[in-house]
């Protein structure tokens, strides 16, 4: 692609009309850009890249005396240990079920909410709703789970009673293998949907008011305005966030699941994160947990990479 003149700084126009622009020969032209990105590069290099040597812990024993890089090399031993462990299949299944249903179901929710809020004409109601929906985000997980316990209790909870009154009587929402995932996902949506809608609201705020006026003149219905003006305005954000969320197919939070666990829902609620916690209680299994973590990461990254490829091929938006 040959860059168009106006994009370039006039002074530096010449050097790369002749040959393909590369990092080196555009450096003089782009020095300002380099200055602007320099701090970010430094920070990320220092705090994210330097400690990365720790990844090798997944392939070594931890040896305090000899340091992180000094332990005995074990190759894929800890990976094998995980793959061959009694719980491996269950852990993988549970983790994927929980994280996929969380991603798939909680992804569209904030988009819909943002569109809905945007359609609300009564200014005060809009403000009130906007301020309320993001509040649950601040409830810490410990209290969130406590809240679930109190509200969902079949004997004494408000929601438990509500369900009884519509004839769903004796389901114990807190202790059943079939309700664990729905309760987890719905409470996730309840808690974070409003917060996540903020970014979409911001994106909607950039829509040119003239477009709305034009649509009005054209006699477009409200529904058509949403479809033809607002959703297209959200598309880039949606794509980016979706690609990013694909990078977490194997990550579930730890704390919430752990606190929601009980012996009745254990067959579906034991996930990789809780397993890693439990094996580390008595003694720090540094290498084993590092191996499990790395395995997790690789899978997540694979999904993100693939999704990004798809996004780049099918739209103009992609991560890199």
């Amino acid at each position: 692609m040959v860059p168009q003149n106006p994009y370039e700084h006039p002074v530096n126009l010449r050097p790369y009309k002749k040959k393909k622009p590369t990092v080196l020969n555009t450096f003089r032209r782009d020095y300002q850009l380099w200055i602007m990105i320099f701090p970010a590069i430094v920070v990320i290099f220092i705090f994210n890249y330097i400690p990365m040597y720790g990844i090798q812990l997944a392939f070594r024993d931890y040896n305090f005396a000899k340091g992180l890089t000094g332990g005995e090399w074990r190759g894929l031993f800890y990976f094998k240990q995980f793959f061959e462990s009694y719980q491996f299949a269950d852990l993988m299944k549970n983790t994927v079920v929980i994280s996929l249903s969380t991603v798939v179901l909680s992804f569209p929710a904030p988009i819909i909410l943002a569109l809905l809020i945007n359609q609300l004409r009564w200014k005060r109601a809009k403000k009130a709703l906007q301020t309320t929906v993001y509040l649950p985000h601040f409830i810490s997980i410990v209290v969130m789970v406590g809240l679930l316990n109190v509200l969902l209790s079949p004997n004494s909870g408000v929601i438990g009673h509500l369900l009884q009154s519509v004839g769903l009587g004796d389901v114990n929402l807190l202790g059943s293998t079939s309700t664990f995932v729905p309760v987890y996902v719905i409470s996730e949506i309840w808690q974070h949907c409003g917060w996540n809608s903020i970014i979409y609201l911001a994106a909607l705020s950039t829509v040119d008011p003239q477009l709305y006026d034009a649509a009005k003149i054209d006699g477009a219905s409200r529904w058509q305005t949403i479809r033809n003006i607002e959703i297209p305005a959200l598309i880039p954000t949606i794509i980016i966030l979706f690609v990013l969320s694909m990078g977490s197919v194997l990550s579930t939070g730890f704390e919430k699941i752990f606190l929601m666990q009980n012996s009745l829902n254990l067959p579906v609620s034991e996930v990789i994160a809780t397993y890693v916690y439990k094996i580390g209680i008595v003694s720090n299994q540094f290498s084993y947990s590092a191996a499990i973590g790395l395995f997790n990461t690789l899978i997540n990254f694979f999904f993100l990479y693939t999704m990004n490829l798809v996004a780049r091929k099918t739209s103009e938006t992609s991560l890199w």
Binding site: P39, G54, V133, V158, N300
Partner: protein, 306 residues
């Protein structure tokens, strides 16, 4: 479109009804969402001042019962709360400032199509979302940099959040009209100036969002304090509150484990739990309305063309 127009003229009445029905549905849905969110929040408030035995047996539903402020007096009795508040505000303000200072220019650079290193740097940044060395090497690094037990550990490390960077970048990419830079460059405008006097003013919405993300992240951060801070004088609010909050779990492991304390203090710990949420969230709630105005429709274009 024309067809729609004709049809609409013919049935102006119907359209008004349609509009009305649309508004009604929107309003009803919003009301439903509002109620489903407000009730549990309201419950947190009344639970924080009610007798905890009644709360957990489901006897507190609409009005608080056996009102006592034991929870709050317990929270505020802790001297550390006040230093915690002070520290957290300092870390949050300073931290968010540094975050924005590092993130926004970088996001702008990465949004420039002509920046050749763009894809490589993006990729290198995204990698860090996934691959990390883990806690031990990071801790050792902080130790070598002498950041441990200083306020800088809250501010400098990870001051560029790649996730936020990506969001800001894609916003710059998709929402700032390309013609603007062309025009500015014609006038001999540098990137610095273009960014400062064109891009930023046009991006109040995203700056507010990213700012809010960073702000809240700093506000809620207890991990940094937990791992890297030793002096009580430097601990942020969340550490203090988490200490108070988690006492609940001490007992949930089975009361016998706590040296057979039984559940004596449990009851008291419980009432504190809901109060903690309110004490920790209230200040940050005050920030939101100030940012909210930047999300209003058409803020950006208005500022350019108006």
């Amino acid at each position: 479109m024309q067809l729609v127009q004709k049809k609409e003229k013919a049935t102006a009445h119907k359209r008004n009804f349609g509009e009305w029905a649309f508004d009604a549905v929107v309003f009803a849905l919003c009301l439903l969402i509002f109620l489903s969110i407000v009730y549990p929040l309201y419950f947190v408030v009344i639970a924080s001042i009610s007798n905890s035995t009644l709360v957990s047996t489901g006897q507190v539903t609409i009005f608080p019962k056996e009102i006592s402020f034991f929870g709050y007096s317990e929270i505020f009795k802790d001297q550390r709360i006040w230093t915690g508040y002070g520290n957290t505000i300092l870390y949050t303000v300073l931290g968010t400032f540094v975050n924005l200072l590092f993130t926004l220019p970088a996001a702008y650079v990465l949004s420039r199509q002509e920046f050749r290193a763009r894809r490589f740097i993006m990729f290198a940044f995204v990698l860090t979302l996934f691959f990390g060395g883990g806690l031990i090497p990071t801790y050792l690094l902080m130790k070598d940099l002498h950041l441990i037990n200083t306020i800088w550990v809250f501010i400098l490390p990870f001051s560029v959040n790649v996730y936020n960077l990506i969001i800001a970048r894609s916003f710059f990419e998709s929402s700032i009209p390309k013609e603007l830079y062309e025009a500015a460059a014609m006038d001999g405008c540098s990137h610095f100036r273009y960014f400062g006097s064109v891009v930023l003013p046009l991006s109040k919405a995203i700056v507010s969002v990213i700012g809010l993300y960073y702000l809240v992240a700093h506000w809620n951060d207890f991990f940094t304090g937990l791992i890297y801070i030793r002096s009580n004088g430097l601990q942020p609010l969340q550490i203090v509150l988490r200490d108070i909050l988690l006492s609940n779990q001490v007992f949930s492991q089975g009361a016998g484990a706590g040296g057979a304390a039984g559940g004596y203090a449990q009851q008291y710990a419980d009432q504190v739990k809901y109060g903690v949420i309110i004490v920790s969230t209230l200040p940050i709630l005050l920030v939101y309305p100030f940012l909210q105005k930047y999300f209003d429709k058409g803020v950006m274009i208005g500022s350019v063309k108006g």
